[in-house]
């Protein structure tokens, strides 16, 4: 297939205008010694029809969540995506546009980001939001570095109940930026506050905590905030935006920066990406924020309009002194989030959150009743919970898979201390029937 419209005859005309005899002549600046002397070893071209068949064949080698019932979460969740989200996202004016550097012809993207920023602030209880970052993990890493810059300190404390992959990303960024990371232990599935107090010192820039955390448990953010602030350290909270329809906003509990994963807001699980990282902060940190921010202004006629603003923070102006090297945002994923929140609305989001909460607790109780598990913690949880399985988790999941069920996450992979740890996620998409079937298959496996 080719997407090149110029014909051979037209190419000859163009070469004549340029005064070149062949296209090859245009590459004369490339020294002979670095010219590729062979054809690339890449399979030959495919027609659209062949390509589609090939891609369908490849996709067919994967098990997809439309045919299997999913109780797997651990950072990527199978929530309902309203039809309007997918439909509106496929409008070419949105997805084939570049970054809105020409605001006169980018008001669609810009206004949508302004609305996104407003919604994120409202959910998190913060003053200012950026236009989104790569994902939840990198958003946390950026928040850590922002905290170090703001406090002129270099140590970060991460609570062990934060998603293990997020902790790993924070560590990678920290290693190269010269920040040190220490880990606060957990007690009953949430931050061990005593351990936190012991770890805090006068070089602690921030405490990073996730709530609901990797185990689904709700952390006591207010207390953690008090402990951090007594030490003049900042509090960075990562959270599930759907949970914020019923849980207190971190901003109202003392968080200074909120940074989290926004996949749940209208984005499919897509084997891990693309998702979006959201970040919001108290007003004082506005000029320390990484990434794009959209602001309201007026045009020459006084008509309301939107522009990228506070750009002097960014790499294209401040170069090596920029607040971050990020040069894009996950615009289309943030748009999905904006459309999702608009379509769900105040009522819909609350309903989704309540359904998650109720169904997760139903599943929790039913699974415990089987006698195959013991509870791991007593802390309150939202849509995900950790149980300890008495048998072999891999065997259990294999059995479930044979019954078209994708079982929970084997937590021992990241938490050796939880032998048999089984992390189960229940979203609003799971029916009572799904859960009952899950439970009865567990019984027949254990």
């Amino acid at each position: 297939m080719s997407y090149i419209p110029t014909t051979g005859e037209q190419q000859r005309q163009m070469l004549a205008e340029i005064g070149a005899v062949s296209i090859d002549e245009l590459f004369a600046d490339i020294p002979e010694s670095v010219r590729l002397k062979k054809e690339l070893d890449i399979p030959k071209a495919m027609s659209e029809l062949e390509l589609k068949a090939h891609m369908q064949d490849m996709a067919g080698k994967n098990i997809s969540l439309d045919k299997y019932t999913c109780f797997l979460g651990a950072g990527a969740y199978d929530h309902y995506i309203p039809s309007v989200v997918t439909n509106l996202l496929s409008r070419q004016e949105f997805y084939t546009a570049y970054t809105p550097y020409q605001p006169e012809i980018s008001q669609g993207t810009l206004q949508a980001i302004f609305e996104y920023q407003t919604m994120i602030c409202s959910l998190t209880g913060m003053d200012v939001s950026n236009a989104s970052l790569y994902d939840g993990a990198t958003a946390l890493a950026e928040a850590a570095s922002m905290a170090c810059e703001s406090t002129r300190r270099t140590e970060i404390i991460v609570v062990r109940s934060i998603h293990p992959e997020s902790r790993e990303v924070v560590s990678t960024y920290a290693r190269f930026k010269g920040m040190t990371v220490s880990e606060c232990g957990i007690k009953d599935g949430v931050a061990d506050l005593k351990n936190l107090e012991e770890l805090l010192n006068d070089n602690t820039a921030a405490v990073l905590v996730q709530s609901p955390n990797f185990f689904g448990a709700v952390e006591n953010i207010r207390e953690i905030a008090e402990i951090a602030h007594r030490n003049k350290s900042l509090l960075v909270v990562s959270c599930d935006p759907i949970s914020l329809a019923i849980l207190k906003a971190p901003g109202h509990l003392g968080a200074d920066i909120v940074a989290g994963e926004g996949q749940v807001l209208g984005n499919p699980v897509s084997f891990g990406g693309p998702y979006l990282g959201f970040m919001a902060a108290k007003k004082d940190f506005t000029r320390r924020m990484p990434g794009r921010i959209v602001g309201e202004t007026v045009d020459r006629n006084g008509k309301r309009g939107y522009v990228l603003t506070l750009q002097t923070r960014e790499q294209h102006i401040r170069r090596e002194k920029a607040t971050s090297n990020i040069c894009s945002n996950q615009a289309l994923n943030a748009l999905a989030a904006t459309i999702y929140l608009s379509a769900m609305g105040k009522n819909g989001l609350k309903k989704a959150a309540e359904l998650c909460l109720q169904k997760a607790h139903y599943a929790y109780n039913r699974l415990l009743e089987t006698g195959c598990f013991s509870p791991a913690f007593e802390s309150p949880f939202f849509k995900e919970f950790l149980l300890i399985y008495h048998g072999d988790v891999d065997k259990l999941n294999k059995h479930l898979l044979s019954r078209n069920i994708i079982g929970g996450f084997a937590a021992e992979r990241y938490y050796p201390e939880f032998k048999g740890g089984y992390l189960v996620a229940v979203t609003e998409k799971r029916t009572k029937e799904d859960i009952d079937r899950f439970v009865s298959e567990v019984i027949s496996a254990c």
């Binding site: 070469l15 890449i42 309902y80 004016e93 570049y98 994902d135 790499q315 289309l332 819909g348």
Partner: protein, 486 residues
Amino acid sequence: MLKKEEKLVFELSVPGRYTNLLPGCDVDEKEITGLIPEEFLREDDPDLPELGEVDVVRHFTHLSQKNYGVDSGFYPLGSCTMKYNPKVNEEVSRLDGFSKVHPYQPEETVQGCLELLYMTDKFLSEITGMDRFSLQPAAGAHGEMTGLMIMKAFHENNGDHKRNKIIVPDSAHGTNPASAATAGFEVVEVRSDERGGIDINALKELMSDEVAGLMLTNPNTLGLFDENIHLIAEIVHDAGGLLYYDGANANAIIGISRPGDMGFDIVHLNLHKTFSTPHGGGGPGSGPVGVKKQLIPFLPRPVVEYDNSRYYFDYDRPLSIGRVKSFYGNFSVVVKAYAYIRSLGADGLRKVSEAAVLNANYIKEKLKAYYHLPYDRTCMHEVVFSGQWQKEFGVSTLDIAKRLLDFGYHPPTIYFPLIVKEAFMIEPTETESKETLDEFINAMIEIANEAKNEPEKLLNAPLDTPVLRLDEARAARKPVLKYECG
């Protein structure tokens, strides 16, 4: 484009209005306060809009009508490679077997995804002449940061802890120095010579045992291929440094020349540029990083391996820099790039670069009588002009760009690279026809004439857009960054 003002979604909200998208609760409902202690529960609902489905659809449709995409028309934005985004790639990336797959599913249930990642690594390695790729980085700048972290880890592993400097040309993208800083390096700038390439003597003077490496875009941001690339590689390697290739401009050289053969050790590519995945209004992109053999151990983990019967993730990589992102990168973007490579094949890929370079040179030739061409030599996939002739009539490059909006075009990149005054950078890409280029050239000539004869037309432009020029100073002085009710 739609000129009528579109209210904010919050201003459209009507209390009590909603679309019932979710079913009722089918399990025994418990009191919420019995499940979560009251102190953790929100007292008032977040301020989200209350709308019907039609309201939502109209609102976002109206917003889309205030946007300009590649499908709307020509988008000659230099350095951004705004080529056409094939529709079939969108369609296949949405197949359930790609989009509804959980990243933690057992490996045996995701063999198609793993094969796709593995093969994309192979193809990108072949295209760039590298030995191994990581598809984890989410964007070009993220790839740069990852590549530089690999560079640092490599030197440190050799016990070479002094190398804390990265050399970056003065013509480089702003992300280069910013990424170097993120990876913990100090940035040293090297100037360009009068041909637009790296000043060799200046480079020699800067090299020392404190230099970790050099970042280079080739062709560079002037759209020019640095003929001294072999010499540059030799100078850097002789001093113990590594060479980093910024793949932003790779659309010029696919199938023609490979960074690996030029002497580069680390490469990042922008799948959202060269490999046709859409920009999405600013993302998601994908910025895979490729390395030469000696650097493979330092790649982010996991990498996908194949044991002749199955594909699997390899996490056991003790020298890895670690993770730079959750899961495995922007997977569905990679799906589109993979589909693009398969649809074009080796021959098709080479033709992409040939047509891209031909189109850029055609525009250069046709416009150089009307706009100042600071480097008058064969260009690669993009050409940099200067608006300095027009400056004499009191109009700037910004005015030229704004006037182009009235002609229905997205303007070129302006005021970049920084080393050209009043710069504007045109990258037509290969997917534009001669007819489109001719129409654009005519518009540019007309604007050059207007600049001379009716400069106010440029100064007042645009007039035919949803909003006119916006007051950016006001936005930055008293930032309004969210909607405040009332």
